[in-house]
Amino acid sequence: MRISGRALFALFVAGVAGYAIFAARAWPVKAALFPMVMAIPLVVLALVALVVELRAAPVEATPVAGRVGITFAWMGAFVLLVLLIGFPLTVPVWVFAHLVFDGAVGWLRAALLAGAGWALFHGLFERLLRFPFEAGLVQTWLGY
């Protein structure tokens, strides 16, 4: 039997609730009461939802998984870049790369847009609001 994504998500919710019950057993009553009171009916409801989804007619999925994966990969790359080189450098680099490689925008136009994005970011957060952004790991290693 092939389990649908809908049923798997219900199973995931039941799993989260099950883990909550398991973890809460080790805590004092004061700390465990509220999570237990929430997690027990959640397991029941998620399992009911699982049964409902297993019995339901299969829904035809739209073939978008590749595009979804690529978009998540771009967002993951953004987070990784922030970690490595910090926000102020990530903004122009990542926007430029995204516009060129994912958006198929020309190099010059992409550079202008990325520059505008950086100017807005720098002017608003760093100059006007004086918001402190942490340096990336690379800058820290280099001693900046």
């Binding site: 994504g5 809908r6 998500f9 919710v13 989260v16 609730a17 909550a20 973890a23 809460a24 805590w27 004092p28 004061k30 700390a31 509220f34 999570p35 929430m38 997690a39 009916p41 959640l42 409801l45 998620a46 009911v48 939802a49 409902v52 978008v64 595009r67 979804v68 690529i70 978009t71 998540f72 771009w74 967002m75 993951g76 953004f78 987070v79 922030v82 970690l83 926000f87 903004v91 990542w94 926007v95 995204h98 516009l99 994912d102 958006g103 198929a104 925008v105 847009l113 994005g117 970011f121 608003l124 957060f125 609001l129 918001f131 402190p132 952004f133 942490e134």
Partner: protein, 497 residues
């Protein structure tokens, strides 16, 4: 009293106070558009600048900024599906689908006009009720406040959609939200819950990364998959053309706007509940106000009433929020706690003095709420047609900038890289929820209310045992919560008959 009201207006209209209010409004406008940096954080950032100001100037500056941030937060919620503030997430649910349908102008018109009506109602209640509200606030102890959170949780019944399957999923998501709120150090015993050995989780999950992930990332994915502009291929001329229609919608559903404003004021008055709660309760009330299950079907898919309800509540809340802050020095929210700091910097003591000796300052706050909102909404209307056209920018160009907005917003809330991962993780969960038909609103409502509910429940049990359950006001609130849960079913039964 009337003399003080008029005198305070003239104090506010002096060039220095007025200029500072306009500067504050400009800051609030920008801050409102950015997720993460909320009104409270900006108030804290701007507090050092008020030392050289008079009390009227200081509150014109701070309140001008704060009240406008709540209004403009709706703009990014509608245009991009990215909540501009934690307070404006409920506007995403129906506002963004309207923008995708090419009705961005109408949604923006409705959001701004209802915000203005809400702000005016909030200011009026503030002006009239300060002397009267003392008994109400003092009547609400921890058992009653716990029951208010229960009523909020009961709204899940309305936010889940119709049918048994939707209700099961809705209540499951509400419980999951409540469970997520328990992450972090438990306040009574100090036990660390679900921290997985990470210091980051000791304080629990922050609302902004969770909200932005759950609501904005699925919209980003949708935009990336469609590879078109947000409003599809609708002609640019059409997009801003129906702003006036949104204004008319506010008056077509005027009583709904008034009722949702009242919800905002009431939640604002009660300490600790916060604007997010007011918005979701108002949204749930808007859903409940539908005539029957068929009339309710449009909610979540771009029903203008889903924009009007939260729009009016998040601005009326500001007036309500100020009442206990001014009258007793009891801040109703984080932003009001910071504003309390401004009182002390100015050498003012909240309480009876604010109603006698400093009445002009108190009324200048009322006028600031009124003037700041009127000016913002009028200015916004001048640019709405152009704002709506943002939804025509090709998807491949606007997409990286929306992603940027999302992640900068998540980061600026706490300056933690881990918040970016939380946004991404909850983005994936939000995407799966949309794909597999699990409602997101109940999860957010549960998450917003979870900590409050647990804290008030613990204090109630510690102070009164279980005898608080028999208190008359608690019994009334229990009945109200049951009515809120039962109402959608009663409606459906009536329709079936």
């Amino acid at each position: 009293m009337l003399d003080a009201l008029i005198a305070s207006l003239f104090l506010l209209l002096q060039w220095k106070a007025l200029s500072l209010m306009l500067v504050g409004m400009a800051l609030g406008f920008v801050v409102g558009l950015l997720p993460g940096i909320g009104g409270a954080a900006t108030l804290a950032l701007m507090l050092p600048f008020i030392f050289a100001m008079t009390p009227v100037e200081a509150f014109a500056f701070l309140l001008g900024m704060h009240s406008v941030a709540a209004t403009t937060g709706d703009i990014t919620s509608i245009l991009f599906g990215v909540p501009g503030e934690g307070l404006s997430a409920a506007t995403v649910v129906d506002g963004h689908p309207m923008a995708k349908r090419g009705e961005a102008g109408r949604a923006l018109g409705a959001a701004l006009m209802s915000s203005l009506v809400g702000a005016l109602i909030g200011a009026a209640v503030l002006a009239l009720s300060i002397p009267l509200v003392r008994p109400l606030v003092l009547t609400f102890g921890s058992p009653e406040l716990f029951m208010v959170t229960v009523i909020g949780i009961a709204c899940i019944a309305s936010l889940s959609g119709s049918g048994t399957r939707a209700q099961i999923k809705g209540f499951a998501m509400g419980l999951l939200g409540l469970l997520l709120a328990t992450i972090g150090q438990e306040r009574q015993s100090g036990t660390l819950r679900f921290d997985f050995g990470m210091i980051y989780l000791w304080e629990g999950l922050d609302l902004i990364p969770v909200l932005v992930g759950i609501f904005a990332i699925p919209e980003i994915i949708d935009l990336a998959v469609r590879r078109s502009a947000i409003a599809g291929s609708r002609p640019a001329a059409e997009l801003g053309a129906d702003v006036w229609e949104g204004v008319k919608d506010t008056f077509r559903h005027f009583w709904l706007v008034v009722r949702c404003s009242a919800v905002g004021v009431l939640v604002g008055i009660l300490p600790g509940a916060g604007g997010g709660v007011a918005q979701w309760m108002a949204y749930a009330h808007a859903v409940q106000s539908a005539k029957d299950a068929k009339d309710r079907e449009g909610f979540g898919h771009g029903d203008v009433r889903g924009v009007l309800g939260p729009g009016s509540a998040n601005n009326s809340k500001e007036g309500g929020d100020l009442i206990p802050t001014i009258a007793f020095g009891v801040p109703g929210s984080g932003a009001m706690a910071i504003l309390l700091g401004a009182f002390l910097i100015m050498g003012l003591h909240p309480g009876p003095d604010m109603l006698t000796k400093h009445l002009a300052v108190t009324y200048s706050m009322v006028w600031t709420l009124v003037l700041a909102n009127v000016i913002t909404v009028l200015l916004c209307f001048a640019f709405l047609k152009h704002l709506a056209k943002v939804t025509r920018v090709p998807g491949n160009i606007i997409l990286p900038f929306i992603i940027l907005l999302v992640f900068i917003g998540s980061y600026t809330a706490n300056r933690q890289i881990a918040d970016l991962l939380v946004t991404l993780g909850f983005g994936a969960i939000g995407y799966l929820m949309v794909r597999y038909g699990w409602p997101r609103a109940p999860l957010v409502l549960g998450f917003v209310l979870g900590k409050l509910a647990e804290t008030y429940l613990f204090i109630s049990v510690a102070r009164y045992g279980f005898s608080w359950l028999a208190q008359p006001l608690v019994l009334f609130l229990i009945a109200l919560a049951l009515t809120v849960i039962a109402y959608p079913y009663i409606q459906e039964r009536r329709r079936a008959d």
